[in-house]
Amino acid sequence: MIAFVLRRLLQAVMVMLVVGAIAFSLFNFVGDPVALMLPPEATQADRDAMRQSLGLDRPFYVQFATFLGNALQGNFGISLRLGRPVSALIAERLPATLELAFTASLIALLVGIPVGVYTALRRDSFLSRAMLTTSLVGVSLPNFLIGIFLILIFAVWLGLLPSFGRGDTVQLGFWSTGLLTTSGLKALVLPAITLGFYPLTLVMRLVRSEMMEVLRTDYIKFARARGLSERTVNFGHALKNTLVPVITIVGLQLGGIIAFAIITETVFQWPGMGLLFIQAVQFADVPVMAAYLCLIGLIFVVINLAVDLLYYVVDPRLRVERTAPAGAH
């Protein structure tokens, strides 16, 4: 057990080091920070002084170590575009992205599970087929187009919902939330649907196939034979057993949802991290790119690690297979 956890932890640290190295090489290969920070009429002596004060004259590995040390403390320097510390910018934008991602996952679960169950129970009904076709079309539809069509229908033609920004926000300590005001909630509707659409179709198809699998098993037949009501069999026995893989997939998707928020945030001008990142890519704002990269890398590594460890706890077969090569090392 301990060997497996340690190996997995070591792997996670390795991945983070690689992500850190990519972020660091961004700083090094991309332009000359000294030229960017000094006026064009600066002398060679000025340049050398600047180089020294930034620590750029030191060897490569010392610089990398300094970068890692700073990154661990959340210090990524100053944005070239906005002239403010990157950590402050990210902290400002993080709540908006997390609220959006959380609402989108909630929509995916709350709509995807019932629809999935319905399509599994009434396999040949017209409604089921319509829903399955919709989900297939939805997969072929790029995320940003869904957002644009939603804006066109609900904001431009019907004028029901706002199409950009977060609405009014309330400050709760360091966390600015849009969930407590009417305009904030209204502004959340369209972006959350856009972002939640793809995971929704995923959850729906997953629940459908798992449910159809479970309904064929012997213990469901036995439950029916015992004369339990349809509802108890379907929801008490069958649904409960389909939810374990669903929750795992949604957990793994959470990182993807946060990454995909880049697109949704651009369409709706949602003031989150994704919008910050895409503006940084367009302006080659290296410190912001590096910080976003490290943060997303961290989120993905933590989620994958958590899922792996949970699987290890839940699935005894993994313990047998994995300890053998670990012992042979």
Binding site: V137, L152, I296
Partner: protein, 319 residues
């Protein structure tokens, strides 16, 4: 066998009629004929490809010829609304460019980038998968570890990263000339893993078969064994992957262009057109966005339907 029967022999004119007859008789053609949705999709894809290749002759206007543009024609609504100009069937954009012609040239760009990126990803993935499966050991472990790590990040993020790196590393005045190649590279770099995994799996099975052992015994070079003996037998599933990947690559390209980091505005793709039109959504000029968007959905949907059908048709278990 259906696969063999369905393969026409190119470059041998005297065999063509027989090969065509075998194609018409094959299982694959039979399952094709019986599915109207698949036939429709094939027609749609064919129409897109033909109009992309002959864009210069098919398009009613040349959207890049500044001499023919007239700013007075800007924001003409589509002809069928009754308020438009019959010369511009789907209306014009903010600079008076014909939307239909822009879509035709835009799909050419989208298809080009999508197909090139898919082919590059395939070559990269198939080679790495082949080496990984055949060599085994440390090389295998390393390639597969990289694949695992990459697979846990979404493709769009990898593509954005590669694109951002190239954008920052290259001098500013080179951006527009190399943007298309950078884009192809970025999308290919985000999509090679699926090929590597599939081919590695088949290679692991093939490498222990007798014909590979025989080739090894007579002393052929490992690279020759890999590419002339193992590869042809590991390529089957790759065809389906390619079809499904093209649709995905086109979506990725459109997304990157929509985000403003894709192709340069002077050579717009469908994604660029949608981004341009997005600015005029609120002033009522919906056609500048909706038609390129609809074209993109049609193209990707048709390719995906074809890919799905191909997967089912080539799957021996479903026959």
């Amino acid at each position: 066998m259906a696969e063999i029967g369905s393969r026409p022999a190119p470059g041998r004119p005297n065999l063509v009629p027989r090969a065509f007859g075998r194609l018409v008789d094959s299982d694959i053609f039979y399952s094709f004929r019986r599915r109207p949705g698949v036939i429709l999709s094939a027609i749609v894809v064919l129409a897109f490809v033909v109009s992309a290749v002959f864009a210069h002759w098919v398009a009613p206007h040349n959207p890049f010829d500044l001499a023919t543009l007239n700013l007075l024609d800007a924001f003409t609504p589509p002809a069928f609304t009754g308020k438009g100009n019959p010369a511009y069937l789907l209306g014009t954009d903010d600079q008076g460019r014909d939307v239909l012609s822009a879509i035709i040239y835009g799909s050419r760009m989208s298809l080009l980038v999508g197909v090139l990126a898919t082919l590059l990803a395939m070559v990269l993935g198939v080679s790495l998968g082949l080496v990984s499966g055949y060599a085994g050991g440390k090389i295998d472990a390393f390639i597969m570890r990289v694949a695992d790590v990459q697979l846990s990040f979404p493709a769009i993020l990898i593509a954005l990263l590669v694109d951002g790196l190239a954008r920052a590393a290259l001098p500013r005045d080179m951006h527009d000339t190399v943007a298309v190649y950078v884009l192809v590279l970025a999308i290919a770099a985000s999509g090679w893993v699926r090929y590597a995994r599939t081919v590695r799996g088949s290679t692991l099975v093939e490498r222990n078969k007798e014909y590979v052992q025989a080739a090894r015994v007579i002393g052929r070079h490992p690279l020759a064994i890999m590419f002339t003996h193992v590869l042809p037998n590991a390529l089957g599933p790759v065809l389906v992957l390619v079809t499904l990947h093209i649709g995905e690559a086109i979506i990725t390209e459109a997304t990157l262009s929509f985000l403003g980091v894709g192709v340069p505005p002077t050579q717009p793709s469908l994604g660029t057109l949608i981004r341009i039109g997005n600015d005029f959504l609120f002033s009522g000029e919906w056609w500048i966005t909706v038609f390129p968007g609809a074209a993109l959905v049609m193209l990707v949907l048709a390719i995906n339907v074809l890919g799905d059908w191909l997967r089912d048709a080539l799957n021996p278990r479903l026959r």
